[in-house]
C-alpha cells in the first residue's frame, strides 16, 4: 500500500521483562485503513509487542510513532486520547459492572463524538449488548464478553484498534461473527492490528501480515503470499 506515511510505525522495538528479553528488534507498520495480522506461535512476543505499543509495558529500545507522535514514555491514557485502542487477550473486563457501565468508562470524547452517539453505534454493531445492557460483564457468555471488550474500546473512537486473540475460546460461529464485524469496521476506515492463532480468519481479514517467532519478525508481506509461505507452517511447527 502506499506512499502515505504509516499511521503506526514501530522501529526496532525491544522489550524486556527483568532478565527475559522478549521482543528483539521488531519493526512493523500499519497504514491508515489497513488491516495487519501479526501471527506466530505462543510465546513469540506478539502480546508483548501490542502491550508495548499501547504503553502497558515500557520499551527497552526502539521507537513507536503513531500519527506523527513519538510515544516513548507516554501513558496508556494519553495514547487512548490520541486514538489508539486495545482489545486485550482475556478481555480484561470489570466482572461486577454492567455492560452499559463498561461503555461509559470506555468513552473518550475523541473526534467530537458524544457518549450517546458512540454508545448507539456500539449497540447497532452488537445488538446483543443492548439486550444485556444492565447485566454484569461476568455473567455474559464468552462471545458477548468479546463483543463488550471490542465495544468498550470503540467508545473512545479509536483510529487504530489492536486486538489480541479476539477469537480465543469462542465457538466457530461466534468467531465468524467477530471477524465479520472487524471486516466491516475496517471497511469504514478503522486501522486494525490483529494478533491471532486462528491464522485462517486473520489472513482473510488482513491486507498484510507479519510472522513473529522468538521475539523477531521472520516474514512479512501481503496476506495472500504469507498464507502460502513455508515460514508460516514452520513457525507454528517450531513449537
Amino acid at each position: 500500500m502506499p506512499a502515505t506515511p504509516p499511521v503506526l510505525d514501530v522501529r526496532d522495538l525491544h522489550v524486556r521483562y527483568g532478565h527475559f528479553h522478549v521482543v528483539h528488534g521488531v519493526s512493523l507498520t500499519a497504514a491508515a485503513g489497513e488491516a495487519v495480522a501479526l501471527l506466530g506461535p505462543n510465546g513469540a512476543g506478539k502480546t508483548t509487542t501490542l502491550r508495548a505499543i499501547h504503553g502497558l509495558v515500557p520499551a527497552a529500545g526502539g521507537t513507536i510513532t503513531y500519527a506523527g507522535h513519538r510515544l516513548d514514555g507516554v501513558s496508556p491514557a494519553v495514547r487512548v486520547r490520541l486514538g489508539l485502542g486495545l482489545v486485550p487477550e482475556g478481555r480484561e473486563l470489570f466482572p461486577l459492572m454492567a455492560v452499559e457501565e463498561h461503555l461509559e468508562l470506555g468513552f473518550v470524547p475523541n473526534r467530537g463524538r458524544r457518549l450517546t452517539e458512540a454508545r448507539d453505534e456500539v449497540y447497532a454493531l452488537f445488538p446483543r449488548l443492548a439486550e444485556r445492557r444492565r447485566q454484569a460483564a461476568g455473567s455474559l457468555s464468552g462471545g458477548e464478553q468479546q463483543m463488550l471488550a471490542i465495544g468498550r474500546a470503540l467508545m473512545a473512537s479509536p483510529a487504530l484498534l489492536m486486538l489480541d486473540e479476539p477469537s480465543l475460546g469462542l465457538a466457530p460461529r461466534v468467531v465468524d461473527q467477530v471477524y465479520e464485524t472487524l471486516t466491516a469496521l475496517n471497511r469504514n476506515g478503522l486501522t486494525l492490528v490483529v494478533v491471532e492463532q486462528h491464522v485462517h480468519e486473520a489472513l482473510a481479514l488482513a491486507h498484510r501480515a507479519y510472522i513473529m517467532t522468538a521475539g523477531q519478525i521472520v516474514l512479512q508481506g501481503p496476506a495472500e503470499i504469507v498464507r502460502n509461505a513455508p515460514e508460516l507452517q514452520a513457525s507454528y511447527l517450531a513449537v
Partner: protein
C-alpha cells in the same frame, strides 16, 4: 435480661457497628483500588474524634460546625497523605506498594498517636479522653429509651453510607474506582488514570474514617492509643465482608458491633476488643475470601 435492655444494647451495637462498617469500607476500598494497606486508618478515626472534641468541647463550637470542620480538614489531610506518602509509590508493582504502604503508614500511625497523646496531655487535659456529650433529647419508644446522640449517630451513619454508595454507583470517579478495584489492567487499557482514582479514593477514605471517629464519640469515648485496635477492626470487617464490598462491610460491621456490645455486657467490657480478634481468626480459618466475596461492588 429485659426486652427494653436487650433492644438498647442491640441498638448500641448497631450504632458502633455501622461506624465500624463505614471506617472499614473506606479502608478496604483504598486497599482494593490502590493496594495501599493503610495501617493508620484507625488512627485517622481517632484523630477525627480528637478534632471534633477539641473544636466542640474545648473551643465551644456548635456540634454541627465541629463535624463540618473535621470533614473539610480531613479532605485536606487525605489529599496531603496521598501526595506525600502514596503518590511516590504509584509506579511500583502492586506487591511493592502493599509492603511499602504498610511500613510507611505504620510509621505514620505510631508518630501520630505519640504526638496526639503527648501534646493533648500537655496542652488540653492530662488524661486524654475524646468524647462529645451534646444535649439531645432522648426518644422514647414504648418502654425503650433511645439516647438522642445515639440516634444522631445512627442517622449520620446511614446518610454517610448512602452517600458513599451513590458516589460509587452514580459518579464517573466512583465508577472508575470500582473499575480499578475489579480489574486494574483493564482500567489502564481503556485509559483511566490510576493516580486520579487513587487520589480521590484516599481523600474520601481518610475523610470517611475521620468523620466516623467524630461520630463514634457521640456514643462511646475514645483515647489516643486506640487507633491500631480500630485498624484491626477494619481488617476484620474487610476480611469478613469482602474487600471493597459495601453490603458485606455493613453486615460484618454491624455483626461485630453487636457482638462487642453483648460481650461487654455479659462477659465484661475488658473482653470486648477480643471479640473482633476471635471473629477475624474464625473468618480466616473458615472463609479466607470473605463472607460475601468480590471486590468493588
Amino acid at each position: 435480661m429485659t426486652v427494653p435492655l436487650f433492644v438498647e444494647l442491640l441498638l448500641a451495637g448497631v450504632v458502633v457497628g455501622g461506624l465500624y462498617a463505614l471506617m472499614a469500607f473506606s479502608f478496604s476500598l483504598i486497599l482494593a483500588t490502590t493496594h495501599v494497606l493503610n495501617v493508620a486508618h484507625g488512627v485517622f478515626m481517632v484523630l477525627g474524634a480528637a478534632g471534633v472534641t477539641l473544636l466542640v468541647r474545648h473551643l465551644g463550637l456548635p456540634v454541627a460546625m465541629g463535624f463540618a470542620a473535621v470533614g473539610v480538614g480531613f479532605v485536606a489531610v487525605g489529599a496531603l497523605v496521598y501526595a506525600t506518602l502514596v503518590r511516590p509509590l504509584s509506579d511500583r508493582e502492586p506487591g511493592e506498594v502493599l509492603v511499602g504502604s504498610i511500613l510507611v503508614t505504620f510509621g505514620l500511625a505510631l508518630a501520630a498517636e505519640a504526638l496526639l497523646g503527648f501534646y493533648w496531655a500537655r496542652l488540653v487535659e492530662p488524661q486524654p479522653v475524646f468524647a462529645l456529650t451534646p444535649r439531645v433529647a432522648s426518644l422514647r419508644l414504648g418502654e425503650v429509651v433511645v439516647s438522642g446522640s445515639r440516634a444522631v449517630a445512627l442517622l449520620f451513619t446511614a446518610l454517610a453510607v448512602a452517600i458513599l454508595h451513590l458516589l460509587l454507583v452514580r459518579t464517573r470517579i466512583g465508577k472508575e474506582a470500582r473499575a480499578v478495584a475489579q480489574n486494574a489492567i483493564g482500567a489502564r487499557i481503556i485509559g483511566l488514570e490510576p493516580r486520579r482514582v487513587a487520589a480521590a479514593v484516599l481523600t474520601v477514605g481518610i475523610t470517611a474514617a475521620a468523620l466516623s471517629g467524630a461520630v463514634f464519640v457521640l456514643a462511646i469515648p475514645l483515647t489516643p492509643y486506640e487507633g491500631l485496635r480500630l485498624t484491626m477492626i477494619a481488617f476484620t470487617v474487610s476480611a469478613a465482608g469482602g474487600v471493597g464490598n459495601l453490603p458485606g462491610a455493613l453486615a460484618a460491621g454491624v455483626a461485630l458491633g453487636v457482638a462487642e456490645v453483648f460481650t461487654g455486657y455479659w462477659v465484661g467490657p475488658v473482653w470486648s476488643p477480643m471479640t473482633s480478634l476471635l471473629v477475624l481468626f474464625g473468618v480466616l480459618l473458615l472463609r479466607p475470601v470473605g463472607l460475601l466475596g468480590g471486590a468493588g461492588r
